[in-house]
Each structure stands twice: as structure tokens, then as C-alpha cells.
């Protein structure tokens, strides 16, 4: 049965997230935009609250909690954690994207851990704040060509390389680092490793100054003979082509979340514009053809249509993930 409305069962979650955005994020939004690199301490209490929300419900949290591919018991339609997380993020980013990215224990690394970790790893690293380190100075979107290396030495892996653009890299407890076990084997040899933030081999080089999302810290690191236990490797240590596909699957789950951030800010901008146009006496009419309306109203309709397109495409990608449908294209 085709239905593109927000599922009833997620409405309380979306409304809670909206309250957080209204009461917590928006009042301090400008403050941390101006005070770049200072830690938004107001979020600590909120993070505990959200941990509680995650514990107490089976529909995912309000933020970037992990999104796991869950097998549906039967062929029935499923609205699960991918969709609920997208909805939560949209509301929170309607408040402020930088602050959402700064939420303790809601990092992209947490998503990766939640998506592919073993039970032991989940137990060991659960409840911690995990950032994600993929990008290097020479490898951005082309994540298959990363140069950081991991070498097995006894019971430990030794990591070497340089990582940039690590969101929450300074504040997180853990950094999930992507590195190659054997650079001659290409993408099949790329694995992710959990590195404790206080590991002496992990050196913070600097924090970036940015155009936006200034409340969130963006860190650059050097890994210098950084030793981690063998058990810190996430997922399967075997070098095989399928392995990388698994890693990329994380992206199929997390790209809709990033899209949700943009959708949230867009909605905020759109609502502000709608209000300003209303104050200026411009009426937006959905029945009258756009060409017969005020140019500003016609432009607004165009913007709203683009917003709705982005919103629907994001929900679609998340819904497909919830229903174990291949969504690389949509994501």
C-alpha cells in the first residue's frame, strides 16, 4: 500500500527531536558558530538523555545511532532504524547541523561499529564516542585508494599514515581508522580499526577552521607506529573482494543520514523564507499556476518542490535499507 507519510509510530520520536532542536540547539546555535573549537558543554546532558532514549526503545535514537541491516522476518513492509534515524536527524538538523555532529556518542564511527562489529566488539566499545577517519590528503571520495597501512606484528596491528577531516576527532573516545593490510591488493585489503583516542601513536596535527558546521571539530591526525590489539579490527580480517563491498555498505546506510542533515537545514531555511514572505504580504497559493503568482511566490514553490524531492529521495533510500533492498543507487 503506497504511503509516503511519516509513519505514525515515529511521530513521537520526531516530535521529541524537534523539541531538542528548538529548546537546546537553536538557542546556542549562534554561540558555537562564533566560538569555533570550543566544546558545546550543553550537549553532555542531552547526550545522556538520548542514550536513555536509545536504551528504552527499539526504534533507534534521535541521532546518528548505528544503522544495521536487519532481515525482515517475512516479506512485509518494514519501517526500522534507518528511517527513524533519518527522521530524527532531519529534526535535529532543523535546529543545527554542527551541534548534531557534536553530539557525544553519536559519531559516524558509532554507525560503523554498530553496523559491522562483532558481539565482543559491541560489548567492549559500546557506550563510547567513535569518530571515523577515512579521508587522506591524497584520497577523498576515492576511498579505495587510501594509503594508510596496517601491519600485523604479533598480536597487534601497527598503523601508519595520515588522516584528515575527522569529524569529532578531537572530542571522541575512539577513532575508526581505515587502513590497508596490503597496498598491492587494492580495495580488498582495506579494513577498519578501532583506535583509542589516547593511543600514543595517534597524533593530533590540527583542527580545521571552516565555512560552516563550526560547532563541530574537524581534526587531522598522523598515525605513527600506532599499535592496536588484533581484536581492534572491525569485521572480517580476511583479504577478499567482498570485504570492501561490506565496508561500502556502511555508506549505503549512512549516506541517507548525511542527506537527512541537508534536508533538515533546508526545511529550516524554507520555513524562515515562508515566514518572511508572509510578513511581506506575499501569498503562496498551491491551486493557482505558479506563473500567475508573485515572482517570489513562484520561486518559493520551486524551492519547496526541490525540498520535497530531496526529502522523499532520502526517505526512499532509508526505507530501502530497512527493507534489505539494494540501495546504493538511491543512497
Amino acid at each position: 500500500m503506497i504511503n509516503l507519510e511519516i509513519p505514525k509510530k515515529f511521530k513521537p520520536l520526531a516530535s521529541q527531536a524537534n523539541q531538542v532542536a528548538t529548546e537546546v540547539f537553536r538557542p546556542i546555535s549562534r554561540k558555537y558558530d562564533e566560538a569555533e573549537h570550543s566544546y558545546p558543554k550543553e550537549l553532555d546532558m542531552l547526550a545522556s538523555l538520548i542514550d536513555g532514549m536509545n536504551e528504552g526503545s527499539d526504534i533507534g535514537g534521535a541521532g546518528a545511532a548505528g544503522v544495521r541491516r536487519e532481515k525482515s522476518d517475512n516479506g512485509d513492509n518494514r519501517n526500522g532504524s534507518n528511517l527513524s534515524t533519518v527522521l530524527g536527524i532531519i529534526e535535529l538538523c532543523w535546529g543545527d547541523v554542527g551541534l548534531l555532529l557534536s553530539m557525544p556518542r553519536q559519531g559516524l564511527g558509532n554507525s560503523a561499529i554498530a553496523s559491522v562489529a562483532t558481539e565482543e566488539q559491541l560489548k567492549k566499545y559500546g557506550g563510547k564516542w567513535a569518530a571515523m577517519a577515512i579521508t587522506e590528503p591524497e584520497a577523498g571520495s576515492d576511498s579505495a585508494s587510501i594509503r594508510a597501512t596496517a601491519e600485523l606484528d604479533g598480536d597487534e596491528y601497527v598503523l601508519n599514515g595520515e588522516k584528515i577531516f575527522v569529524t569529532s576527532g578531537d572530542r571522541a573516545d575512539l577513532i575508526v581508522v581505515w587502513a590497508s593490510l596490503d597496498r598491492s591488493k587494492g580495495r580488498a585489503a582495506i579494513k577498519s580499526f578501532i583506535v583509542e583516542r589516547d593511543n600514543p601513536g595517534l597524533k593530533l596535527d590540527r583542527l580545521e577552521h571552516k565555512l560552516g558546521i563550526r560547532a563541530s571539530d574537524t581534526a587531522n591526525f598522523t598515525l605513527q607506529n600506532c599499535r592496536v590489539p588484533k581484536e581492534a579490527l572491525l569485521g572480517d580480517p580476511e583479504v577478499k573482494e567482498k570485504g570492501f563491498a561490506g565496508v561500502m555498505e556502511t555508506f549505503d546506510n549512512t549516506r541517507p543520514l548525511v542527506a537527512a542533515m541537508a534536508v533538515g537545514v533546508t526545511r529550516a531555511a524554507l520555513e524562515e523564507t515562508r515566514q518572511k514572505l508572509k510578513e511581506a504580504g506575499v501569498k503562496i497559493d498551491y491551486d493557482v499556476p505558479a506563473n500567475n503568482q508573485h515572482a517570489a511566490a513562484a520561486r518559493f514553490l520551486e524551492m519547496e518542490a526541490d525540498y520535497e524531492a530531496a526529502w522523499l529521495l532520502t526517505l526512499q533510500a532509508a526505507w530501502m535499507a530497512d527493507n534489505s533492498k539494494p540501495n546504493s543507487l538511491q543512497a
Binding site: N3, K9, Y286
Partner: protein, 447 residues
Amino acid sequence: MTTTTENKGMAERGMGYGLRALNRLAGSDLLDRIRIRKQVEKALFQGTKNGFKGATAAGRAFKATQQLGKPARQKKGKSSGLFDLSPDDEQQMFQEGGRSFAADQIRKAALEADEKRETPKEILDQANELGVNMLGVPEELGGVMTEQSAVTSVLIGEALAHGDMGIAYAALAPGAAATAIGLWGSAEQEATYLPAFTGEDIPAAALAILEPRPLFDPLQLETKAKKKGDEWVLTGVKSLIARAKECELFVIAADAEGIGPALFVVESGAKGLSVEDEPAMGLRPAATGRLLIDKVKLPASALLGEGEAKAKDYAACVNRSRIAWCGLATGTAQAVLDYVIPYVNDRQAFGEPISNRQGVAFAVSDIGIESNAMRLATYRAASRADRGESFAREAAIARKLCTQKGMQIGSDGVQLLGGHGFVKEHPVERWYRDLRAAGVMEGALLV
């Protein structure tokens, strides 16, 4: 080749302009020099014959065969409360039927239908056999759908327009009149007109809203219905009606005295009705025509819904029409995508497939993204309509996307094929013209 193209152009410009042009043409020695005078004259005769204003179709006698105490209505759809993009079983059946019909027959007939400005009768018959024109007929009157069918109609429109939008318009237009009567008609109107749409010989019919003028607004109609005693007197012009000459029944939008915009049920035999040819850049297989309404007298019972006619119903009708056109635009946009992907992968330039160029690859992925967004926005509006929720905003958004992105997709489809996209060897030029049409149409189709 040149001859036929020129001739067609002549015949289509309408009589006034045609005669002026004819004068110039007749005086030119160019025709004699290239020895085509005879053909031009002959074609002109044909064109004139078709181009002149003519009477509406004779039409059948519509008669109520049963008495309904009150109007029969399809039930509102229910929501499971979950986000879901999967059509139900019945919808899938219609969708698959429509898709294979489009692939096996419609696409193959499209080029010739475009040139002849005619949809083959076999195709119209088969569309009727698929049940596409009875979706809006309540069960009590022989319909098959118990619940409202906006989503189902969209899915069918999308499937047929993947074959060809003009043929889809020709095939689906009668259903618009039936759906309007099924949604808002009185018991008497339903009993009189709807059974005809469930039989074998389904009449050509039209929902006539669009008027031929710039910045047309369906809420500000120039077609007027004046009250004269117990009668209504209608005067105005309606534009781009599918198979206008064949239509036996019209549902006509007019600004009704004391009511505002409203719909009237008018049989083709009504005195004062006439049709004239109105060829357009797109939707050519639908043989579009104008309906001229000259002081047509109608009984009070011709007002759709009679005493119950409401402004909000008319607004809903306008928006439901827009959703229907969005369905067609989505289907044709998908056709463009499905056509250009293999083309850009196969086509070699500078020693490699042109899809290796970002300028090409980005254009193709934009088509993929936008056509998908068009689809989702259209489904959302249609599903809200089926459930009886407000849908004016969602319909406006779907229309905005389908108009703007649809036209862009049509244009990019041509551009990606370069010079090959401009010639009729490939269907993309036709899709470009049709996607342009979807942006200006009002009324005519209904979900």
C-alpha cells in the same frame, strides 16, 4: 520527404493563417520549379477537410438503466500507518499489464501515430480491455475498484506513457469524464453515464477545462454558464481535447453564475457545440481539438453534482488532473532515462564511450534523480487523495517538479544524443515535445 513535411505544416496552421499562407504559396514559382504543386494542392485539400470546424460526434443516447437512491462513491483508502513504496497486488497487476502493453504495442505504434495524429483503434480497444477507463466507476455501477483509485490511475498512466504519452492521453481521456462523474456526480448522472464506461464499446469522452489563452488559470474561467430560468446557457472555448471529434460526452468546466467554477455534463449532440482541429507540438496521437461552446442550453440537471456542486470539489478536480499528468510525465521521463543509458554507453567518441565524460554522466544521473523525485512526489499526492487527506500542496509540488524537471529531462534526452536526438530516427525528440505538453495541460485527465 520535404513535400510531406511542408504539407503537414500547411494543413495544421488553421484556416485563417492557412489561407494567407496559401496565397503566398500559390503565387510562388518555387512549387512549379521543384514540381510539387499537385502534391501540395492535394495535401492542402486533405488538410482543409480535416482542419475545418465540424460538428461534434453524433453520440449515443445515454440513459439511466437503474435507480440509485444516493450517489455511489468509492471508499477512501486506509493507511497501514507505515511508509511504503510497494504497490498492492491489484495495483501491481495493473502496472504490469500496462507495462507490457506499452512495451509490446504502444511504443511500436508511437512513431506512426505521431505522424498520422491518430491512435490505432486496436490500441484504444486494448486499453479499454485493460480496464483503464473504468477505474473511477463505483462498484454499484459495474466498476471494479471498491476503493478510490488515484494511485492505481497514476501507475497505469506512468506505465502507458513509458510507451508513448500521446497514445496514453488518447487512451485515458475518456476515463477522466467517468472518474469526474464517479467522484462528484449525482445519483442520476452516475446511473445515466457510468454504465457506458464499463461495457465493450466505451465512448470517447473528455474532461474539458483548459482554455486557449496565455497564463490560463483553471480557477478563472472564461467559459461562462449563465442561469436562464431552469436552464444553464454555456458559452466558451476549450482547448487540446483528446479525440475531440469522436467525443460523445464532455464534462466541461465553466464559471457558473452564483456558484463559481463548476463542471457540467454535456452530450455531444447538444445544440451549439462544435469542434475544430487543434494540432499541437506534442500529444499528437491524441488528435487534439478545440471544443467551441456557443450558447449551449442545458437542463439544471447538467450541473455535475447538481445542488451539491462545491468550489472545493472543482479545486480538487483541477489538482487530481495535475496528478494524472504528473503520472504521464514520470513515465515518459523514465523512458528517456531507459533510452539514453544504453545509448551513452554504446556510443563511442574519441576512442571511448561518451558516458566516460562527466558532462554526459552527470546529465544522465540528473535524469535518474529527477525522474525518481517526480515519481515519489506524484505517488505522495495521489495516495493522499485516495485516503481523503488534503493534497493541494502535494499536487502543486508534484506538478512543479514534473513540469520543470520533466522539460529538462526531455531537453537533455535530445542533447545527449546530439544531432541524432533531433531527428525522428530516435524517439527522444517526440518525448521532448510531449514532456513540454505535460507542463501546460490542465484538466483532460483525472485520477
